[in-house]
């Protein structure tokens, strides 16, 4: 539902950073955006005044949109793919990119992307994108000597531009990670957390935290489903789709970290619960009809399918639970029957999770 999405977007910035941080960022003259990968569609949650001026949009026209709306017919697809890869791998990168203003005019910019890591659990909470308009690269993109991956050495202007980008980028990061303007030592300590060049963060996500790329992939699935982690105590929910929250009436933070049993109530059948437990224990998929309860205590029949989901190691990483509310005017847009809707979610989740924990070098068992 739109209002929930809008709430998430407005809340994304304010729930993490103080009002002072917002003010400080508003004062910076540069063009930059902050995006939230945990919200479906990976939207912009903050756009600087500089950005609005460069692109010619108003704040309302930009917040909530994905960065691709500024791309156009001449934008190089390979560059877009490289940006997507950097987001997936949660690393910084810098590239020349052609974007379009509101009036449709194209312009080149040096685009710098960097993840912002949470101090508490080390996961990526936002991405910061900095846009620096530049002259068109001296040689066309498809030059005889090949595409330059990062665009940093295309011309001397590039060096100066990179220097400027780092300066402005540094000040963005500083503002974001301090709650109030603080002592240098604290800033330096936080800087080291955000210092992407020497990032030592381990590739496996911390307990219960999903990588931003998995979040983005799962965000494309519009049905109601949850992901639970069997390796954590009490097998908590680690992902819940917007549709699940709408169906059950809960907010995301009321659901994440909890076992699904909160959906059961007085009249929920024990044998069904037992059947589910047995399937999970034997790593099998199962389909059941179970009586569940919403936050407002009303009950509904849940046509539920649960399946194990494996990652790159070949072992079970999560279980996915797909819920279909019986009797509800099921507005399935794709013309699939309920069983098939279960399957399509399971398939999409399996594809998304398959690449997780893909280590390099000798295999671990």
């Amino acid at each position: 539902m739109e209002s929930q999405l809008n709430f998430n977007i407005e809340n994304s910035f304010d729930s993490r950073y103080s009002f002072c941080a917002r003010q400080a960022l508003d004062d910076l003259p540069y063009s930059f955006t902050i995006t939230d990968p945990s919200i479906s569609g990976h939207p912009i949650v903050f756009a600087s005044e500089g950005f609005l001026k460069v692109f010619g949009y108003s704040k309302d026209e930009v917040v909530g949109k994905n960065g691709r709306v500024f791309q156009g017919p001449k934008t190089d697809r390979k560059s877009v793919m490289e940006i997507r890869e950097a987001i997936r791998e949660e690393r910084s990168m810098q590239i020349n990119l052609l974007n379009y203003r509101k009036d449709g005019t194209p312009f080149w910019m040096l685009f710098h992307l960097s993840p912002v890591f949470s101090e508490e659990d080390g996961r990526v909470v936002h991405f910061v994108g900095v846009q620096l308009p530049i002259l068109p690269p001296r040689r066309p993109r498809w030059s005889a000597s090949g595409v330059v991956r990062n665009g940093a050495n295309l011309c001397e202007e590039g060096d100066r531009v990179c220097g400027n980008t780092n300066i402005m980028f540094g000040s963005c990061r500083r503002e974001l990670c301090s709650d109030t303007p603080v002592e240098l030592s604290r800033v330096l300590a936080l800087e080291s957390v955000l210092d992407d060049s020497s990032r030592e963060r381990h590739s496996l996500p911390r307990a219960g935290i999903l990588s931003s790329s998995l979040n983005i992939s799962l965000g494309r699935i519009k049905q109601s489903f949850v992901l639970t982690d069997p390796h954590l105590p009490d097998m908590p929910i680690v992902y819940a789709s917007d549709a699940f929250l709408r169906m059950t009436g809960y907010a995301r933070d009321e659901v994440l970290g909890h076992n699904c049993r909160f959906l059961s109530g007085a009249d929920t059948d024990f044998s069904t619960l037992y059947q589910i437990k047995e399937s999970i224990k034997t790593e099998q998929a199962c389909t059941v009809r179970i009586l569940n309860y919403r936050k407002d205590k009303s009950s509904f029949w849940n046509y539920l399918h649960i399946s194990p989901v494996r990652n790159a190691s070949g072992k079970v990483a999560y279980f996915v639970g797909v819920q279909i509310e019986e009797g509800c005017k099921n507005q399935d847009r794709n013309g699939l029957c309920p069983e098939m809707r279960h399957r399509s979610v399971v398939g999409a989740v399996k594809v998304a999770v398959r690449s997780l924990s893909m280590g390099a070098g000798p295999s671990r068992s």
Binding site: S40, G41, N66, R68, P73, K74, R77, K78, M81, R84, E85, W142, A144, S145, G146, V147, R149, G219, R220, I221, K222, A285, V309, R310, A312, S313, G314, K315, R333, N334, G335, L336, C337, E339, M340, R341, R343, S344, V346, G347, A348, K350, V351, R354, S355, M358, G359, A360, G361, P362, S363
Partner: protein, 377 residues
């Protein structure tokens, strides 16, 4: 939001006289009824293939993607597949190229010779064709349509010009299927424009970056027009390698590039406008490669926007020795020890060993330019 119009019966299938070509006995399976997905009438393959298409939004799973994943997972659930491919471990081989390795110990045990789909829609001894066995492997048909939006017909007989999607019971990756064009011109001996257009359109409408389509050129003396596809979990090494464009007509026309510094000689075809013409050019190039006995493979990636052409050296059997995903940098190993010991160097050698040489590559590049010029005129 995309709505798919669901039609209860198959009145849309022409009930007129059966065309001459379809009377051939190989089409005896024509009355098998499975779901049918019809593309919208908006042609993807004219001037603006990838802009403003009504049924593709990047923010959500497309209808075709949902259908394919649902059908595939359903067959898995029903035990049609020989094994669960997601239990096969995968890893990136340490090195600059990021080759990908999969440990699949079941593949060797259950090996079934590849040309099986030919028995359905091509040559082959039809008496060997076990209809009941194969029927459960049929997932759905895909065909062109007349409506403004795509349609999903729950059950239909095969329409003209359809592509039949069949599950591969020994999958290389999740979602592995065969795409078998069953049009009235399936008597054609080589890769044809219509088939390539249909499968490219399929890739565009799946709109999932993990989804890749493949084609391995037929061995000498045979022909087939079936493609394969599956969902790969991460970028294939060839997709990350820089390219060097040597032909382009204007900013948005066709662009042909050589993939630089890749162990197997590879070309990349892209076109923002006039996609149909690029398909014609590519098909003509492949025909000529076949005449010159140069084995090749095709890889369609980035939701249909990129088509890679891998070139292998001529050999006695005149067939490619590597499959398209291997050319792209994804390798399967059947034993734990091979998997553990795989290095970037061995993978590089494997590709270099089958690659067309520099001289041959130059000839092919010139061929591409002359064919592209001919069509541009």
């Amino acid at each position: 939001m995309v709505t798919v119009k669901q039609v209860e019966d198959d009145n849309l299938v022409s009930k007129g006289a059966i065309p001459e070509q379809l009377k051939c006995p190989r089409f005896c399976f024509r009355d098998i009824r499975i779901p049918l997905y019809r593309f919208s009438s908006q042609s993807l393959l004219d001037d603006s293939p990838f802009e403003g298409h009504v049924c593709i939004t990047e923010d959500e799973q497309s209808a075709l993607d949902s259908l394919l994943l649902a059908q595939w997972e359903d067959k898995m659930w029903k035990g049609i597949l020989r094994y669960d491919v997601t239990t096969s471990e995968i890893k990136v081989i340490f090195g600059r190229r990021k080759f990908i390795a999969q440990l699949n110990e079941r593949l060797g045990m259950d090996y079934v010779p590849k040309p099986e789909p030919d028995k359905i829609c091509g040559q082959g001894n039809l008496s060997e064709f076990q209809r009941t066995k194969h029927q459960e492997e049929f997932l759905f048909y895909v065909a062109s349509g007349e409506m403004a939006i795509p349609e999903l017909v729950p059950s239909a007989a095969m329409p003209d010009g359809a592509v039949l999607i069949i599950i591969n019971e020994i999958p290389v990756e999740y979602g592995h299927v065969f795409l078998v064009p069953c049009g009235s011109d399936s008597l054609a001996q080589v890769l044809d424009t219509k088939s390539l257009e249909m499968v490219a359109r399929f890739a565009v409408e799946i709109n999932n970056c993990s989804f890749r389509l493949f084609y391995d050129c037929p061995t000498a003396g045979t022909s087939h027009r079936y493609f394969e596809a599956c969902y790969f979990p991460s970028p294939l090494p060839v997709e990350l390698t820089p390219v060097d464009t040597f032909f382009h007509e204007g900013r948005r026309g066709m662009r042909i590039s050589a993939v630089t510094d890749f162990p197997i000689k590879t070309l990349l075809f892209e076109s923002k406008k006039k996609f149909k013409r690029m398909v014609e050019v590519l098909v003509e190039i492949c025909c000529q490669l076949q005449e010159k006995n140069i084995p090749y493979n095709l890889l369609i990636s980035d939701c249909g926007k990129k088509i890679f052409l891998f070139l292998q050296k001529q050999n006695m059997a005149n067939s490619g020795t590597l499959s398209a995903w291997e050319c792209g940098g994804y390798f399967l190993f059947q034993s734990r020890s091979e998997f553990d010991q795989a290095t970037e160097e061995t993978m590089l050698n494997k590709l270099r060993d089958v690659s067309l040489d520099d001289e041959g590559f130059q000839v092919v590049k010139e061929l591409c330019c002359s064919i592209a010029d001919k069509f541009a005129a």
